[in-house]
Amino acid sequence: MIDFGYKIAETRTIDYEQFDGRLLEFVLENERSFVKCLSCGGCTATCSAGNLIDFNIRKINLFLRRGSLEELSKEIDKCMLCGKCVLVCPRDINIRNVVMLIKKGIVKFNNEQISS
């Protein structure tokens, strides 16, 4: 094959048609309050971990809703589970529980994938 000296660029666009909603569904089934997230960033501002390292807890909602599961798995482990975000959330979302559910969900779906 001819070596053209470069590779075709990969797209960065979120293609909603590729979205796998299973993890989102699992989280919402068990913590319905998360549906109310406004993306206001109050959680990020107060986040203990986010004040020390490159971590934006607001974005976990986006990762979940856009199907960016790889990024989500990486990000979610940075949470210290201190729960300060729950105190400031203007929509009374139990963010701490959301984090727990995401962790649980990732394990669950990874296991399902392995067994199937």
């Binding site: 094959m1 001819i2 053209f4 000296g5 470069y6 590779k7 075709i8 660029a9 990969e10 797209t11």
Partner: protein, 354 residues
């Protein structure tokens, strides 16, 4: 899709295009890769339409590719453009015919800048005077050469030998038109049909019997991206953008892609070749790509010019499937015969063949 909606948009963007007496400026890419198109444009204007077009040997590049890849300063390109205007003035022309979409965008941008910032115009007058001693006037009319073909599409139709119709099925050919970003995206009113639903090529295609495909990525850039192609390491960007378009148009099974901009014509052609080589992808029927033509080549074909005189053999993707679909009578063996000369007149007159 409601075609009337498009016609309403088109109605709102009918620019003024001069009727005669053009000063012609060539394109770096078109003359390199599609010299037959520039040759044909002058020929049809003079011989078929009886127009006065001045092909001045003194003009040069506008430096647009250098400007958009940031090695030519804005003052420099403005002054080079001003020099072209000075040459027009010297030779008594007021209407500019531009063979390149990048140049056309440059001319539009510069003239608009001068309107908005008159001090910039004065600065350039001084710079040109200092550099060359020349004086210039801003042209009265600036048209891309496709605008001019668009304007005379009816006259061309009167001389038409072939319809853009599938010879076997009798159905209109399905054609993708690609406008080139710098034609109207910067200044929608400078383009026939505007930026969102440009009519310049669609008008020709419809007039000559074909049908235009409106596919989802129609407005997307071919991916030239200037420095994104000029530097080898960046070409994956250029390729990926063209591929995005091919994937989007493929379900409509286009018979051809007609381009406005010389750069796009080259990339839509060459990237199909690269995708075939690297991914085994063919976007046309069988092991063919989708033929990519300039609008001059399309006009030449419908008027009955010999495809090999027009230079269709300079495209990497074979144009034969299109020629066969139209039912053009051409010599298959003459494609790469460089001993042939351009015929002094059209060789194939349908009425003579019948």
């Amino acid at each position: 899709m409601k075609i009337d909606g498009k016609r309403n948009v088109w109605h709102n963007y009918q620019k003024e295009i001069a009727d005669d007496h053009f000063y012609y400026v060539r394109s770096c890419i078109r003359q390199n890769f599609f010299p037959g198109s520039e040759y044909f444009f002058l020929r049809v204007m003079k011989e078929e339409l009886g127009k006065d077009v001045f092909d001045d040997p003194k003009h040069t590049t506008c430096t647009g590719i250098g400007y958009h890849s940031d090695v030519v300063p804005f003052e420099t390109i403005q002054t080079v453009v001003a020099r072209h205007f000075a040459l027009m003035k010297e030779s008594g022309y007021k209407n500019l015919a531009v063979s390149c979409v990048t140049s056309f965008g440059i001319y539009s941008e510069i003239v608009e800048t001068w309107k908005e910032f008159p001090e910039e115009l004065e600065k350039i007058r001084n710079l040109l005077r200092k550099a060359t001693g020349k004086e210039f006037d801003v042209p009265e009319n600036i048209a891309h050469t496709s605008d001019i073909i668009y304007k005379f599409k009816g006259e061309i139709a009167e001389k038409q030998q072939y319809q853009l119709v599938n010879k076997i099925t009798g159905k209109p050919l399905q054609i993708v038109e690609h406008i080139g970003c710098h034609y109207a995206k910067m200044f929608p009113t400078k383009g026939v049909g505007g930026a969102e639903f440009p009519q310049v090529l669609a008008g020709m295609i419809e007039e000559w019997g074909g049908e235009v495909i409106d596919y989802p990525e129609r407005r997307h850039c071919c991916g030239f991206g200037f420095r994104q192609y000029l530097v080898q390491a960046n070409r994956g960007y250029s390729l990926a953008n063209s591929k995005k378009k091919f994937e989007s148009m493929a379900p409509y099974q286009p018979d051809a892609i007609i381009c406005n901009c010389p750069g796009c014509t080259m990339f839509m052609d060459k990237w199909q070749y690269v995708l075939a080589e690297t991914e085994g992808k063919y976007y046309g029927a069988g092991k063919h790509g989708i033929p990519v033509l300039t609008y001059e080549e399309l006009a030449g074909l419908v008027m009955g010019y010999d495809p090999w005189d027009l230079g269709l053999q300079m495209h990497q993707v074979d144009s034969e499937p299109l020629l066969d679909a139209i039912g053009i009578d051409y010599d298959k063996n003459a494609k790469y015969d460089l001993s042939k000369k351009i015929s002094p007149k059209k060789v194939l007159i349908k009425s003579e063949l019948d």
